[in-house]
């Protein structure tokens, strides 16, 4: 049964991109375990505001696990200790009375801190702009049967497309690698007939941008897929490697 618990929250505070950050610990009493994790931070922020302190800056938007805006490294896990959910889907029943919860921003060279727990994930947008699209005009909506796609292929493309671009993969990776994200974005198009046409160009452009932005080299440890809120599969990384290596051999 959900109860009311008393907790301590150890939060990373950093006034701005260039400022020196530090941890600050706050006490929070009577938090209902049925509350979501972000609601807990809202309550904490109200408490801070009533004490005339600066509230904690953190990213969030949809609060239903679809936009990819929420982040947070909670107790050593991106998106918290639960599996296959985003931070906004995390609930306080995952924590117990008297616990100290550590909350940190994503830490990766390509994701600089803007303020407190908020980081700049614009690097992922830049990778998308470099090639994560289909450049032909697709015209009006054709009849669904005009291009037949086998169900397993459609499913795999759909699973790759479930990536919400949250950045947890690079945040979890000991090498700061963005390969899971890039491979999901390459796969969702490369698997389908409309996207296949430009698959080689797309893989080359997106990998080049990823490298330029300072992400690391993937060593296949698998932390990304284990921590990904959408359970995007490592098999996508093999597909990206394949697309990229074949494209380079063809040049």
């Amino acid at each position: 049964m959900d109860q009311h618990i008393n907790i301590k929250v150890k939060v990373w505070r950093q006034a701005g991109p260039k400022a020196q950050g530090h941890f600050e610990t706050y006490e929070l009493k009577n938090v209902f375990q049925g509350a979501s994790f972000l609601e807990m931070i809202d309550i904490l922020n109200e408490q801070l505001i009533s004490e005339k302190k600066d509230p904690i800056a953190f990213d969030h938007d949809c609060r239903e696990g679809i936009c990819g805006m929420c982040s947070l490294y909670v107790n050593g896990h991106p998106h918290g200790p639960d599996q296959a959910i985003t931070t906004c889907q995390l609930h306080m029943r995952k924590f117990h009375d008297g616990e100290t919860i550590t909350i940190e921003p994503w830490r990766s060279r390509a994701f600089p801190v803007i303020k407190d727990l908020m980081v700049d994930r614009g690097a992922y947008d830049k990778i998308m702009q470099a090639g994560g699209f289909v450049s032909v005009n697709t015209g009006g909506v054709p009849d669904a049967n005009s291009i037949a796609i086998p169900k397993p292929v459609a499913d795999e493309a759909m699973d790759a497309a479930s990536c919400i671009g949250c950045g947890a993969c690079a945040a979890a990776c000991k090498n700061g690698s963005a390969m899971l994200f890039v491979s999901a974005k390459v796969s969702q198009l490369a698997l389908l007939p409309q996207g296949k046409v430009e698959a080689a160009r797309r893989a080359k452009a997106m990998v080049a941008k990823m490298d330029e932005l300072g992400f690391g080299n993937c060593t296949n440890t698998g932390a990304c897929a284990a921590e990904c809120p959408k359970s995007v599969s490592l098999a996508n990384i093999a597909r990206l490697n394949r697309e990229f290596i074949c494209a380079k051999f063809q040049d």
């Binding site: 150890k10 990373w12 950050g21 941890f23 490294y73 107790n75 050593g76 896990h77 200790p81 599996q83 550590t102 940190e104 830490r107 990766s108 060279r109 390509a110 994701f111 600089p112 795999e156 979890a172 000991k174 090498n175 700061g176 690698s177 390969m179 990998v207 080049a208 990823m210 490298d211 300072g214 992400f215 690391g216 080299n217 993937c218 060593t219 296949n220 440890t221 698998g222 932390a223 897929a225 284990a226 921590e227 599969s233 490592l234 098999a235 990384i237 093999a238 597909r239 990206l240 490697n241 394949r242 697309e243 990229f244 290596i245 074949c246 380079k248």
Partner: protein, 245 residues
């Protein structure tokens, strides 16, 4: 050139050199295993791979592979540390499904390299190098590999022609050599159970269906190589124990 300036290209070099070394290890392990089956068969192999031009070309190739693999390992690890940024996480948790060896490939590589130096001194220097230069580096004829391996691991001397003034190893050192080689093999096993699957994945050979199969294949392949190698020191350790215990 994409093999230098793209992350996947650098990983590709790592995986190609790694897999080439794996194939060499399989070849090497099979030859070692012959020693247990037949000493004369083993000496025939030693003669074949002594100071012949093809053995020398092979040795140079291997040295190049190890050097490239090592330099890329350092380069990649250095770049990856930099990509993490300057601030480290205060708290990190164990992530389900991430193997310990996959996060410590460089450290395992250093252990492998350290023992490799010992191994080159023990065997390459006393066999191929000795044969090349005609230098007197050990008690046995450099082509009598069987007698030398036997002496190193068990202390037993069966050659007809040897220099007894160079048989200076104290008897306790034979089982210590066996143990050292077994520790080395353990490090290789950890390096390869991750390494083989990782290399295949890097080269693009993987998908949803083959995912677990490739992990199992790598584990079986790595274990096969390590067991073939381990058979020799274990066998002579048993011989040693039969004499001394």
């Amino acid at each position: 050139m994409w093999l230098f300036n793209s992350s996947i290209g650098r990983k590709f070099v790592m995986s190609i050199t790694g897999m080439a070394l794996v194939l060499f290890l399989l070849f090497h392990a099979s030859m070692n295993f012959v020693l247990i089956l037949s000493e004369s068969g083993y000496n025939w192999i030693c003669e074949m791979l002594g100071a012949n031009w093809y053995a020398l070309v092979g040795t140079m190739g291997l040295a190049a592979l190890v050097l490239i693999h090592f330099c890329y390992a350092l380069w990649l690890t250095f770049q990856n540390r930099a990509a993490r940024g300057t601030s480290r996480y205060e708290e990190t948790a164990k992530v389900w499904g991430v193997d310990w060896n996959s996060k410590n490939m460089l450290a395992l590589g250093f252990v492998v390299l350290g023992f490799l130096c010992l191994h080159l001194y023990n065997f390459w220097f006393k066999m191929q190098f000795a044969e090349l230069t005609g230098l007197h580096t050990g008690a046995f004829d450099p082509q009598n590999g069987a007698a030398y391996v036997k002496y190193l691991f068990s202390g037993v001397v069966t050659a007809d022609n040897f220099d007894s003034s160079m048989l200076t190893m104290p008897s306790w050192s034979h089982p210590v050599y066996c143990a050292l080689y077994l520790v080395w093999l353990a490090a290789i096993w950890f390096h390869l159970t991750h390494g083989i699957w990782s290399a295949l994945h890097t080269m693009g050979f993987n998908n949803l269906i083959w995912f677990n199969r490739i992990k199992v294949i790598s584990c079986v392949f790595a274990s096969l190589i390590v067991l073939l190698f381990a058979a020799v020191p274990v066998y002579y350790l048993a011989v040693f124990c039969g004499i001394h215990c």
